[in-house]
């Protein structure tokens, strides 16, 4: 015959083990964007920043790089994303120094260095706009799986627009592509992941 005391000891033990297991699991951080299951080195690129300086992705090691592909006459996803990323940087406090946000222009024809600089720095003074010739851009877009389709708009004063992928690509301090976010991602989630990657992403 088993005593009721014995039963409650066993039950207590079981609860204890479950709690241990749960805390162990909760220490494992889960990225909040669309995580890449086996992260590899982000495709390398060199483009020209809005100050006319070369921007090499490889030179950014040690920092989290948030890459967005857009254009300045984009009304919606581009300003929404850049405005959210500016908020992320504000929320990061001193960690913000280890984050670089770049917007690669998909419209080098209209986005002159000056137009691009005025645009991206309106969101955050540290943001960089990147430019390249169509020949320089094409392999970068392909490597990141970014769609950019120029559409003529004959009835619009814009003349044309560019249908484009609206994800933000998150590259960790070791230079690996870790995840993507859509423009409606919560800024708290982005900030949390960036903070995590700054702490752990070197190795």
């Amino acid at each position: 015959m088993r005593s009721p005391a014995m039963k409650s000891v066993r039950f207590g033990l079981a609860v204890f083990v479950c709690c241990l297991a749960l805390t162990a699991c909760s220490r494992e951080y889960t990225l909040r964007g669309s995580a890449i299951t086996s992260p590899k080195a982000a495709p390398a690129f060199t483009l020209t920043d809005h100050n006319g300086q070369p921007f090499r992705l490889s030179a950014q090691q040690g920092r989290v790089v948030l890459v967005y592909f857009g254009f300045t006459s984009c009304p919606d996803a581009c300003p929404t994303t850049l405005s959210n990323l500016a908020r992320v940087r504000r929320d990061l406090g001193s960690d913000a120094a280890r984050v670089q946000v770049v917007m690669v222009s998909l419209d080098p024809e209209r986005d002159s260095a000056e137009v691009l600089r005025n645009y991206v720095t309106a969101f955050d003074a540290t943001f960089l706009g990147l430019r390249g010739t169509p020949e320089e851009l094409a392999p970068v877009l392909k490597a990141y799986g970014v769609a950019a389709i120029k559409r003529k708009l004959p009835d619009s004063a814009l003349g044309y627009t560019i249908d484009h992928t609206i994800y933000t690509y998150v590259i960790d301090p070791a230079g690996r592509l870790r995840e993507t976010f859509s423009p409606d991602a919560a800024t708290a989630d982005v900030a949390s992941d960036v903070r995590y990657l700054i702490r752990t992403g070197d190795s």
Partner: protein
């Protein structure tokens, strides 16, 4: 018979017209109008003057977008057909669609405001696109925008510029 018809039509028209003008609530109500104009000018810096280089690229002046809530208090649908403002060279009505992570912006001919209903112009959907900003718009600035509706006619609203 015809003689009697003319005054009757006239009377009916007057009744209808006065019914319209006597309505307490305006037919179309626009609230929460705001705009973003990123890159219009940097904070603390004068607006960038277009350079020969930027002019050569066809669109030296930046664009912006205005958003708002439009309510139709009448029992018939109305259509937003046009918008006009001094702050932009052209003003168009656009929508945005996202499919498989790809965003496409397209001009639309009209936005239907359903009877006793409302439409919200907001990021990710309809917007009034301000193409070629002629004024340096900073957060906190206000500008006027005229909306032209098929039935209601013109409505002038004030739009507040917000942080991009």
């Amino acid at each position: 018979m015809r003689r009697h018809l003319a005054p009757l039509i006239l009377l009916a028209s007057i009744v209808v017209l006065s019914a319209c003008s006597n309505a307490n609530a305006p037919a179309i109500q626009v609230t929460e109008a705001w705009a973003r104009a990123p890159g219009s000018a940097q904070a603390g810096e004068p607006a960038a003057t277009p350079t020969a280089e930027s002019m050569a690229h066809g669109m030296a002046r930046p664009t912006g977008a205005a958003y708002m809530r439009i309510r139709n208090t009448t029992s018939a649908p109305d259509q937003l057909l046009l918008a006009q403002s001094d702050v932009a060279q052209s003003t168009e009505i656009h929508t945005v669609e996202v499919k498989n992570g790809v965003m496409a912006m397209r001009p639309v001919d009209r936005i239907e405001i359903p009877a006793k209903g409302e439409v919200v112009l907001k990021p990710g959907g309809f917007h009034v696109m301000l193409i070629g900003l002629t004024k340096d718009l900073k957060p906190g600035d206000r500008f006027s925008l005229t909306l032209h509706f098929e039935k209601t006619g013109n409505i002038e609203i004030q739009v507040e510029v917000r942080q991009p």
